[in-house]
Structures are given as C-alpha cells and as structure tokens.
C-alpha cells in the first residue's frame, strides 16, 4: 500500500518534471501556456453552445488554435536579436501590404481588409498588430529613455500611418488596437505624464473632428452607444440584446445551451464579437468571473515575464503584448456590456473566426521567446 502511494506520487512528479523539461526545451512558459490553454478550452465549450452545436465551427476554431500554437512555438524559438533586427523590415512589409490593400483590394463594397496571395487570404492589419509595437520597441531600443520630442514625433508617425490606413479600410476596431499596441510601447518607455495628458486632449479633439468624417455606420455606432434606446430595432439592437442576455443570466446563468437570447437568435454576432454575452447569459456572473480571472492571470503572468527580460526592446515589446491583450479584453467586454461603443473587436481566444487567434498566440510566442532567451543575451 505504502509503496503504491509513494510510487504513484513519484510518477506524478516525474510526469510534471518531464512536462516542464519539454516546455522549457520548447521555450514555453508553463503557467502562461496553461492559462492560454484553459481559456481556449473554455472558449470552445462556449462556442459549441453559441454556434447552436455546430461541430464544424468548433473544429475550424481548433484548427486555428493549432495554427496559432504552431506560430507561437515557432516564434518562441526565434532569438530576440533576430526579432529585433527584422522589426523594421516586418514593419515596412506591413505598410506596403496595407497600401496594396488600399489600392488593389479596394474594389468591393464596404470594408476591404483582405489581400489574396495565391490561395492564401491574408489580412495585413493583423500583421501590423505585432509589427507596429516591434517597430516602436526597435526604435526606442537604440535611444535613451524617456524619449524626447523629436523621437516622439517620429514614433507618432510610425504608429499613426498604419493605423490610419487600417481605419480607412475601414476597420476602426483593428486600427484602435494597432495604435494602442504602439502607444503602449511608448507609454512603457516612460512617456512624460504631461505628454500623455496632452495627447489625450488632442485625442478628444480628434475624435470630435473624426465624428464628422466617419463612415455612416461608424458614427451611427457611436451615437447608438450614447443612447441605444433611440433605435431599439436598428443600430441599438446589438447593445440592448446583449445587455438583456447578460442581465437575464444573473449570478449563476441559465445553463449551458439554455440561453434563450443566444439560442433563439435574439443576440446578434453571438459566436463572434458578442460571445461574451453568451457566457454571461449561460454561465452567469460566475462564468464571467472565471473567464476574467483567467485573462487577469494571463496578463499578470505576461507582465511578470516582460519585467524579467534584460533589455529595452524585450521589455517594451513584452509589456506591450501583455497590455494589448488587456485592451482586447476590455474593449470587447466594455462594448458588450454597454460601457464602450460597439467597435468590432473580438474577445481574444474565445470569439470565433478571423486570424486574431493566430496573432494573439504569435504575440505570446514572441513574449516567451523574449523571456526564454534572456540568459543567452549578454547585457
């Protein structure tokens, strides 16, 4: 009896240490990978219900997760120095592709975000989510911190140019995320508080002007956010229905696959941008708390990894990955709960579709590379 217990315990320990060894060989961070895996698994469970038990949709998401994991594993093996050196090239390629989208891709109605390269359909704006912070980190790596005005102006150009191109597609959500990723790098680099305040003021002014030049549906979204009841069956429908879904879920939720708002089609975009409301309806406040705690763990762990990296490029880029992830979550949750206007930002690792899963996991791959290679980089 005693033998058995000891041996079984040691087997567990051996398995764990074995797994840890494998992870470290893969340059993976165990806790972060666990957090990401749990979140993705939770997302699959929710998606199965939100998609009305569509196995093909779940399988397609699994495929994307596999693809994202592959990207994550690949990027984790790449050395930070290489990443840093390729940053400007990546950025330059990204801008060219965005210009290509603006010129070549602009033939359809509404938003044109895709670029077809042979059989592969590719969204350059996804690439820019990573390329812009990398470029910013690369630029600041060489210069003393905190950055000075001339540096800031150039950084501003680095950030605004691609963001503006994406916003013109038009994809306001992604543009905001790209800008946020870049700005967070600058923020982490020690941007002065006065400058931050000044930029906020400029931002407000720009928003005021922007409102006048926005596409009809973008302005409508913003106005609807300010007063959803003004058009309950039109533009306000999304917000009202998602709040009904979340509110009617209560503390414990209606149960998996029992959310009437989601299952009976009242909730629009329920597998994609509004999947947060499905969790709120079916799993209640508790279900959302679990999800948000998972996200908090991922963000916290990421920040912790970023702080441990030895050089400026790694710290800035790693911190940006962590904070951008938070921005993703907060913008999505904020819009679904009615705190923010409806902008098309998916809930990371949970929402169905798009290449965002791959981008997110690739970002964490970079973060883990930066962390795993810290001892190899002489400083």
């Amino acid at each position: 009896m005693i033998y058995e217990e000891v041996s079984s315990e040691s087997r567990t320990r051996r398995t764990l240490t074995g797994a840890a060894r494998v992870l470290s060989a893969l340059r993976m961070d165990g806790p972060l990978v666990t957090g990401l895996a749990l979140t993705a698994a939770y997302g699959l469970v929710v998606l199965y219900s939100a998609s009305a038990e569509s196995l093909p949709m779940v399988l397609r998401t699994v495929m994307r997760l596999v693809l994202g994991t592959a990207a994550m594993l690949a990027l984790a093996r790449v050395s930070p120095n290489f990443l840093r050196r390729t940053s400007p090239w990546l950025y330059a390629i990204g801008v060219v592709l965005l210009l290509a989208v603006a010129v070549v891709g602009h033939r359809g109605l509404g938003a044109q975000r895709w670029l077809s390269l042979g059989p592969i359909r590719f969204q350059p704006s996804e690439l820019m989510k990573l390329a812009v912070p990398m470029m910013c980190a690369w630029y600041l790596h060489e210069r003393p911190l905190p950055p000075r005005w001339p540096n800031l102006l150039l950084l501003g150009l680095i950030i605004v140019a691609p963001a503006a191109l994406v916003a013109k597609e038009p994809d306001l959500g992604t543009a905001a995320l790209i800008a946020a990723a870049g700005l967070l790098v600058v923020f982490l680099a020690g941007l002065r508080v006065q400058v931050i305040i000044g930029m906020l003021l400029i931002g407000v002014a720009a928003a005021w002007f922007g409102l006048r030049f926005m596409h009809g549906y973008q302005r409508q979204r913003l106005l609807t956010f300010l007063n959803p009841q003004s058009d309950p069956l039109g533009a306000g429908y999304h917000i009202i229905q998602s709040q009904i879904a979340i509110g009617s879920g209560g503390v414990f939720g209606k149960g998996w696959m029992n959310g009437s708002q989601a299952q009976l089609d009242f909730l629009p975009e329920r597998t994609t941008d509004f999947i947060f409301a499905v969790i709120g309806e079916e799993f209640g406040l508790l279900g959302l708390a679990v999800l948000l705690l998972l996200y908090a763990f991922i963000i916290g762990r990421s920040l912790y990894l970023a702080v441990q990296t030895p050089d400026t490029f790694s710290r800035l880029l790693g911190g940006s990955v962590a904070l951008t992830f938070f921005v993703y979550v907060f913008i999505n949750a904020g819009m679904v709960t009615g705190l923010l206007p409806v902008v098309g930002v998916p809930l990371p690792l949970v929402s169905y579709g798009g290449s965002s899963v791959v981008t997110v996991l690739a970002g964490f791959g970079i973060l883990m590379s930066l962390h795993a290679h810290r001892k190899l980089m002489g400083s």
């Binding site: 003393p144 911190l145 009904i244 979340i246 509110g247 009976l264 709120g280 406040l285 959302l288 907060f330």
Partner: protein, 685 residues
C-alpha cells in the same frame, strides 16, 4: 547643441517597472469598472432583464372564442359556426410564387385577375407566416386541391371557423348578421378582447347581444426565436408557457317560432312589406319579417364591394328593415284605438247612430272628406263603424276628441316612441301635436294646427306615422285589453359549456286601467265584426275560421286622390302604377276571447288593406293556432326544450269579457256619459 544622452539601463528598468505598476493599477481600476457593470446588469437589474428576455421569446397569440348560436324557441339554430377551409401559403416554402399562383388559377382555385394584388399582399407579410390566399373553399374545391397538393409545396388547406346562417335569409331582420370589424366598430369595442376575432354583429340580435355572443377569447403563448418563428422544442427555454382556453359566447334563444316565421315569409314572398306577430301575454315576438330579405351569409363571408352595391341599389331595398324602421301612415287600423280614447274621454256615444252619406265636412266648413271608395254606410253606430271601417264616423270621432286629446292618447298605445324591443334599431314613428307642429315647421303659417288635420287623424292619415312593430304592439295591447308588454326577441341565454339557461323575464310595462271593461267590449266586438259581419271589411279573408279573429284593415294612401283621381269600383287598383298604389295594412289578434297571437301586416302598394294584407295575417294566425287536424291547438301544447319555464312570467290575466250584445240598454249610455273625463291613463306607460 544638446548634450549627448547615454542609455542608463538602471534608470530605464526603473522607468519600465514604474510604468508596468502604473499600468497594473490602471488595469485593476478598469477591471473594477467592468466588474461593477456586470454586478449592475446581472445582480441589481437581473429581474428587469429577465423580464425583457421573457418578453423576447414568448409570443402570445389569441384563440378566438366560438361565437354563440342563435336559435328559436324550439332550439332550431339559425346562426351557427361552420368550419370552413381556406387556402394558405407560406412564402418561405414556395419555390416559385408566381408559377404556383398561376397554376392555382388554372385549377380554378384563384380568380385570375387578382394575382398582382395577391402577390403584393403576400410580399407584405412575414415570409414564415401563413397567408390566406382564398377563403371559404367549397368541398369540391378542397377535393380538387387535395389530389394535386404535391404540386404546390408551401400551399395548404387550413380550417377556419366562420359564421354560418344555415337558413340563409330566414329571419334575417330579427337575427341580424355579422360582418368584418370596421373602423367604426373599433371605436366602441375593446381591441384587446377582439384580437383574433374577424367579425362583429352589425344588426339585429347579432349586434344587440354582441357581448353575450362574442364570449371571451383565450390565448396561447408560443416560444419564438428572434425572427418570430415558433421554436419546435420549447421545454428548455420556457417551462412557464401559459394557455388560457377561450370561453365560448352564450347561445341566444329567441322567442321566434321558425315554423311561423317561414309561413310569414312565404306569404310575403315576392312582395315588399312586413309582418310582426307577437304573443300579447308576454310581448314575445313570434315572427318578424321584412320583405324582401337578403342572405346574411354574404356579409359573414366578407361581402364584396360589388355585392354590397347591388344590394344597396336594389329598388326593392332588401337591406331596409321595414318591420322596425319602416314608418307608414296607420290608415284605418288606428280606429279601434281612437274609439277607446273617445269612449274613455266620453266624447262619443257608441250607440248613437251617425249617418254616413259617403262624405264629411266640418261644421261650418266647406272642405269635403270622402269615405274610402265613396261608400255610403248609411246609419252606423261604433260597432259597425269599426267593422265596416266607416271613415265619416271616425272623422267625427277625431273632431270630437280634438288634437290635444288625440296627441295625449296615442302614446299610451305605444305610438310616437320606440317600443323598447331588445334588438334595437327601431324608429319611433310620429304622433303629431300642436307643440310638434310648432317646432317642426319653419313657416309661421304652417306652425298652426288646423282643425282639418285633426279630421285626417281620424282615419290614420296625415302626419301620424307608425312602424309595423308599433302596430303589432298596439294590436297586442288591444288583444290583452290594456296590458302593455315590451316586445322582445330574446328569451334566454344558454351557457354552451354547462347547458344552463338563464331565462330573461318579459318586461311588463303596466296596464291601461282607466279604460272601462265596457269600452273594451265594444271595441273588440267591432273588430270581431270586421271579420264576421258579412259586410265587415275583412269578412272575405277571415271567413271559415274555427277561432274568432278580431281584426282591422287599413289603407295607407301613398298619394292623394288628386293624383290618381276617382277610380271607380276597384279603387283603380289595376290602373295605377305600382308605386302609386296604397299600402295595405291589417292588424288582428286571435282567438279574440283569449288571444295568443297579435299580428300586424303591411304589404306595400297592395291596395286596400283587406285584399293585400289580411290573407297574410290569416296564414300566420292559422299556422300558429291550428294543429295539423285543423283544430285549435291547446295554449300549452307546443313546448319545446327551449321554451322558458312558465313560473318566471308575472301573473297578469287579461280580463276577457264575453261578447256583449250588439245594442246595450239605453240606461248604460247615460252612465257612460257621466263617467267621461279627459284621459288620465298616463300611468300605464
């Protein structure tokens, strides 16, 4: 040139750490805001959003209540509901709408020229809803579609309850009809109570008893998705779906006897006119006819504009309810009523013979009033004046009474005001008076009441107007010797679920107690004389009856003789255009000693009353009073399942004096005179 800045790794690390800390704090703050928002939505406002979510997914559909039946006193149904079939189409499931519709036209199930309109209707509906494209399919049409159904995906036959009048036009003016709910109807009904109801009572019993007939609609909650489609397996999302069964409307039991109604309608077939027969012991209407009638099913099935226009434009006016709304001059039928007034007021001596030379003029006046047909009746007393309808005698009666007494007296007999019949819709008629003339005419010269106008009233001509219902009501007051019952059509309401019948008691409005028994005897005797004296006005038509009939003819002059001229022996009947011919009246009650039926008949443009109207009244009375063996039925004989129990009726036994001898002793004449006072019978109202 600014000083060259050197990278300070320690400082940069500290900057990063402080920024990361700051970011962490900011994220914590934003997370707190998000948490607060979730708490507000999911805890504080949970009930509110739960209700909204419930309202989102539960649709409440009305279940219309079955409309109550209408049946006669024996339970024979004249208004029922019929499951009909309609052709329905679900746009979502029809692959090629135009092609399907054109093939339905080819099958003869749709009218071809309506297709563009129909397509527009279908397009305006939700694509998953059943859209009725053709109502009231015949059995043959249902069968024709059924064998080809496989060719029409998305098209199907669905049952639908519709009002159905199995006897068609029978008793339509009593029963009324239902029609599509109009804008006007919506103004005075509770829209919610009529959700899911297509029709509403428009006239007659259908309208007057709408509230009872309609019942209470139920509802059924259905779980639906965002597009409003019913969800097939609702168990998970709604354990609390409610259903309330509708409460069917009450069946309405009429006092009508459809056997008699049929006889009356047959007797009037092809003529314009009206028959009202009622029971003088209760006011129950036995038969009520306005001819020509029309088929109420036309309205119940949604009448077309063309169909309505043709009914409206018919010169015989089938939609016009003559029995309740036709206002005519009473003609001589008013003479017994006037005689009662004159006797009660003591202004005439019934035994004093009056010489009738065939014309009349007022004392000192030069205007001549002729007797009808310019007949010379010679010496006539009251009895013969009624029996033979001597106009000259009654010119005198009217003159003796004067307009004030007449205009006070006639309302006691039910004239000049609605009788209060329970189906409504009646006209009040008109009893002229000095005050009325003063108010009615604009020209000051016409505001004065002329004595000659009083003379006209003696034979029921002039301004005096009555409806057939009023005249029947009046006949029933004469029959019961002064007991006034309010005419009624509905005797009971039957709860179709329990079968329990709520009987409505008849309404007794009082009696004309100041009319002496002697006056009744004399007047009724004169009316019996009209049917029994060989020279009585209705002798020919009433001859051979096994029961005693008290009757009175009347002729409503449509145009003055100055138009037609004196037309000789048959009153020129055959020579005058129909629309100029006089309207024929006849009122009667029988058996005269203990009346069980009182009848008023008008036949428009039929000439003299005895010729046109009396045979109709005879047929009605024969049908009601005689058994198949030709003998008088016992009063209590025909009691059907829907006859009311006798104990709910107030016990009012009419005083039925034996027939008086033709000439009372001279001493009584004096006594009668002594009693005479102005009318004070108003309490009878």
């Amino acid at each position: 040139m600014p000083p060259v800045r050197i990278k300070d790794h320690w400082r940069e690390l500290r900057i990063f750490e402080s920024r990361a800390l700051f970011a962490g704090a900011a994220m914590a703050l934003l997370a707190l805001a998000l948490g607060g928002r979730l708490y507000l939505l999911q805890v504080v406002r949970h009930d509110y959003y739960s209700e909204l979510s419930q309202a989102n997914r539960v649709r409440t559909d009305p279940i219309p209540a079955a409309r109550g039946l209408i049946m006669d006193r024996y339970g024979e149904v004249i208004a029922s509901n019929q499951p009909t079939f309609q052709l329905e189409l679900i746009p979502d499931e029809v692959p090629d709408l135009k092609r399907s519709l054109h093939r339905l036209v080819k099958l003869g199930l749709l009218p071809g020229d309506d297709i563009p309109e129909l397509i527009r209707t279908i397009k305006s509906r939700r694509t998953f809803d059943n859209v009725p494209i053709r109502l009231h399919l015949s059995d043959e049409e249902v069968a024709r579609f059924a064998v080809r159904r496989f060719e029409f995906p998305g098209v199907d036959i669905a049952p639908q309850e519709a009002r159905w009048y199995p006897e068609g036009p029978l008793a339509v003016d009593a029963m009324g009809y239902v029609g599509t709910i109009s804008e006007k109807d919506l103004a005075h009904i509770d829209r919610a109570a009529y959700a899911g109801t297509a029709v509403i009572g428009k006239t007659g019993v259908e309208s007057a008893f709408e509230k009872k007939l309609h019942g209470t609609n139920g509802f059924q909650q259905t779980l639906v998705d965002a597009q409003g489609r019913p969800v097939p397996k609702p168990g998970v999302f709604a354990k609390d779906l409610e259903m309330k069964a509708p409460r069917p409307g009450d069946d309405v039991i009429l006092s009508l006897d459809l056997k008699i109604q049929r006889v009356a309608e047959a007797a009037l077939a092809g003529k314009e006119g009206a028959v009202v027969a009622l029971d003088p012991n209760s006011g129950d209407i036995i038969a009520l006819v306005s001819s020509p009638g029309f088929d109420p099913n036309l309205f119940a099935r949604g009448i077309t504009v063309k169909g309505y226009a043709s009914l409206e434009g018919d010169p015989n006016r089938p939609l016009y309810d003559r029995a309740l709304r036709g206002e005519y001059s009473s003609g001589s039928t008013i003479k017994p009523g006037l005689a009662l007034g004159a006797l009660t007021d003591g202004v005439i001596d019934p035994d004093k013979p009056v010489f009738c030379p065939g014309f009349y003029h007022l004392p000192g006046g030069r205007h001549i009033w002729h007797d009808a047909n310019h007949e010379h009746h010679g010496e006539v007393d009251l009895d013969h004046a009624i029996a033979r309808s001597c106009d000259v005698y009654f010119y005198g009666v009217a003159h003796e009474m004067g307009i004030d007494r007449i205009s006070a007296w006639l309302p006691l007999l039910g004239f000049g005001r609605p009788t209060g019949i329970d189906i409504g819709g009646e006209k009040p008629g008109l009893v002229p008076s000095r005050a009325w003339k003063e108010a009615h005419f604009a020209n000051p010269a016409n505001k004065v009441w002329f004595p000659g106008e009083t003379v006209n009233l003696g034979i029921g001509q002039g301004y005096f107007l009555v409806t057939p219902l009023q005249l029947a009501h009046y006949a029933s007051i004469l029959a019961s010797r002064g007991h006034v019952w309010r005419p009624r059509m509905v005797t009971g309401l039957r709860n179709p679920e329990t079968g329990r019948i709520e009987w409505l008691p008849p309404v007794y409005e009082g009696d004309l107690s100041n009319i002496s028994a002697d006056s009744w005897q004399r007047v009724v005797h004169g009316m019996i004389g009209a049917t029994t004296y060989p020279n009585g006005t209705a002798y020919a038509q009433m001859r051979g009856s096994v029961y005693t009939i008290a009757g009175k003819t009347g002729t409503d002059q449509v145009v003055n003789e100055s138009v037609t001229g004196n037309l000789g022996e048959d009153n020129g009947f055959s020579k005058i255009k129909e629309q100029y011919r006089d309207n024929a009246w006849f009122i009667a009650f029988a058996p005269a000693e203990a009346p069980r039926i009182a009848v008023a008949v008008i036949v428009e443009h039929a000439g003299f009353g005895s010729m046109g109207a009396a045979p109709v009244a005879r047929k009605v009375m024969d049908a009601y009073l005689l058994g198949p063996d030709g003998k008088v039925l016992l009063p209590a004989a025909p009691r059907g399942p829907y006859s009311e129990p006798s104990d709910i009726r107030p016990k009012v036994v009419p005083s039925l004096p034996a027939l008086p001898p033709p000439t009372p002793p001279a001493s009584q004449q004096v006594a009668d005179r002594g009693r005479s006072q102005p009318a004070s019978a108003r309490h009878a109202r």
